[in-house]
């Protein structure tokens, strides 16, 4: 009897706050969050460009990082069909730029955006965008 009483008091003392969402409410919330989220992602990707790097620090940057570098193209080599290697000079350091393109850029000042990759132990940039600048 005493046991039963104690149990009752415990239940009475507990303040249960029920916060249950209906399917419709959850559907609306998730749709709203998706739209707001897409807007945020779009704004971040528009205003946060790739990190601008110095030619001499390329070996310290991890592989796969998307970066931007500017400089003068000192040499260009045709490696294969639509596959070129450019030598870019930035801050007296030479950086290899690999590009799946056919372009002549020698002696031009360019801005390159691309991913850092490693080839035979040396870091290089796999270009995704090359612009004259």
């Amino acid at each position: 009897m005493a046991k039963k009483k104690r149990k009752k008091i415990k239940i009475k003392g507990k303040k249960k706050i029920k916060f249950e969402l209906t399917t419709l409410q959850l559907k609306k919330i998730s749709f709203f969050l998706t739209l707001v989220g897409i807007l945020i992602i779009f704004l971040i990707s528009t205003f946060l460009g790739p990190k601008s790097i110095d030619g001499c620090e390329i070996e310290d940057i991890r592989e796969g990082k998307y970066v931007e570098i500017s400089g003068i193209i000192t040499d260009e080599i045709d490696l294969a069909k639509e596959f070129m290697l450019f030598k870019l000079e930035n801050n007296s350091c030479e950086v290899d730029i690999i590009c799946t393109c056919v372009r002549s850029l020698e002696d031009q000042h360019v801005i390159v955006q691309g991913k850092i990759q490693s080839y035979k132990g040396k870091k290089q940039i796999l270009a995704e965008k090359i612009e004259n600048g």
């Binding site: 998730s30 969050l33 998706t34 779009f42 971040i44 990707s45 132990g121």
Partner: protein, 407 residues
């Protein structure tokens, strides 16, 4: 002779290690084969000083095939699929709630086994015949993707909803790729397909009934087998070399071709597609030099050259790994079926969700986490609105269509 024996032993070693890793990637939600494969590529410069690159390729092939046999297990038992097994959620989970989770996994295993034999049969066509026609296919990829997208959209009952989901997923895809994140697919696909169903299963407070692990009867008629074989062969072959079309799209096409409505036959169909797409993508890497899956990309980066006998070795490795995984999958699913009722499913789902969130944060950083949150919201909305989850593949299809846009 000694050299050949040594090579065979080394290949067997790579195969075994591949199976072990395939078990890990298959059973742990969020750990994809691509994550391991990319890591192997990253350290291959050191590994190839001691190992033949062919062994690393064997490891990846073995791991990938094992993964396709086992990745239905978390999808069915935890409601946490990857992009290849997402369609198994509905039939698999409803069978789990009927106490037939073990049977559901067995059907996918039989499907994968069937897929393995289809890969074997199709491999000569992919090796010797397809290269002659691929040039025509290559220039029509853009139009084929548009057609596939329209097909996915117009087969939906609620077309407006289908367009909304498909294009919102596309926006997420475009934004995700513009971030240039490390492992950019991980937050997006985990959010769209994994965490969204976990969130809903936590909210539903589902209880898993006692699972029946005793009887298993295949119960598929010969005519149904023939329909499954025909449809999966056609759909998976197309999706194994077209970009942005994966197992999910192949399953939608194949299920429409067979008009398959029975749960167990649909699960068998899904199992076979998953294995065929991965198997044929590795063969297509040799014959067409196209990299359709993460496994194919990794093998292409590891192998400095790709002679014909390599592809025979890789097919052999995939076959042995597949047969072993079939038996392993049966044992593992039986074990999990017995244990699942003893675990608090809500806390298990919550644990998996936290694990996935930490994984995303660790691999892709804070921006990846934002993508994970947004993708999860869209995933939840898609499930609640009743749209097919394959529409979420717009996240891959729209950016790929834009990439192939003829200018």
């Amino acid at each position: 002779m000694v050299d050949i024996l040594l090579l065979i032993l080394q290949i067997l070693g790579a195969l075994l290690v591949g199976i072990l890793f395939g078990i890990l990637t298959g059973l742990i939600p969020g750990i994809h084969i691509n994550t391991i494969a990319i890591f192997v590529v990253a350290i291959s410069i050191y590994l190839t000083q001691y190992l033949d690159p062919l062994l690393l390729a064997c490891f990846i092939a073995s791991m990938s095939i094992t993964h396709t046999f086992l990745d239905f297990i978390p999808g069915i038992f935890l409601g946490s699929p990857d992009e290849d097994t997402v369609l198994s959620i509905l039939p698999g989970h409803s069978m789990l709630l009927e106490g037939k989770g073990y049977q559901a996994v067995r059907y996918t295993l039989y499907g994968s086994l069937l897929g393995l034999f289809i890969v074997l049969i199709l491999s000569p066509i992919f090796i010797w015949l397809l290269p002659h026609f691929y040039i025509y296919i290559k220039y029509s990829i853009f139009y084929l993707l548009i057609l596939a997208s329209l097909y996915l959209l117009f087969r939906e009952k609620n077309k407006v909803l289908a367009f909304v989901v498909f294009f919102l997923a596309g926006f997420i895809g475009i934004s995700t790729f513009s971030f240039h994140l490390r492992e950019s697919l991980l937050p997006m696909l985990t959010g769209l397909f994994g965490s969204s169903s976990l969130i809903l299963s936590i909210m539903k407070k589902q209880k898993i009934p006692k699972q029946n692990t005793k009887k298993f009867k295949l119960g598929i008629k010969i005519t149904s087998w023939l329909k499954i074989i025909g449809a999966t062969t056609l759909a998976s072959s197309i999706c194994s070399f077209l970009p942005a079309l994966g197992s999910g799209q192949a399953a939608v096409i194949a299920s429409d071709l067979t008009k398959e409505k029975k749960k167990h036959e649909f699960l068998t169909l899904l199992g076979s597609i998953n294995t065929i797409v991965i198997g044929l993508s590795i063969i297509a890497l040799y014959s067409l030099n196209i990299k359709r899956t993460g496994s194919a990309v990794s093998i292409s980066q590891i192998l400095p050259e790709f002679p014909l006998y390599y592809i025979f070795i890789l097919i052999g490795v995939m076959f042995v790994a597949g047969i072993s995984s079939f038996f392993l999958g049966s044992i593992l699913s039986k074990f999990i079926s017995k244990k699942i009722t003893k675990i608090n499913y809500k806390y298990l789902s919550l644990g998996v969700l936290i694990f996935l969130a930490l994984l995303v944060l660790g691999f892709s950083g804070p921006f990846g986490f934002i993508i994970f949150l947004v993708s999860s919201s869209l995933g939840v909305y898609t499930i609640l609105s009743g749209a097919r989850r394959t529409l979420l593949m717009g996240a891959l299809m729209i950016p790929t269509i834009l990439l192939y846009l003829p200018l």
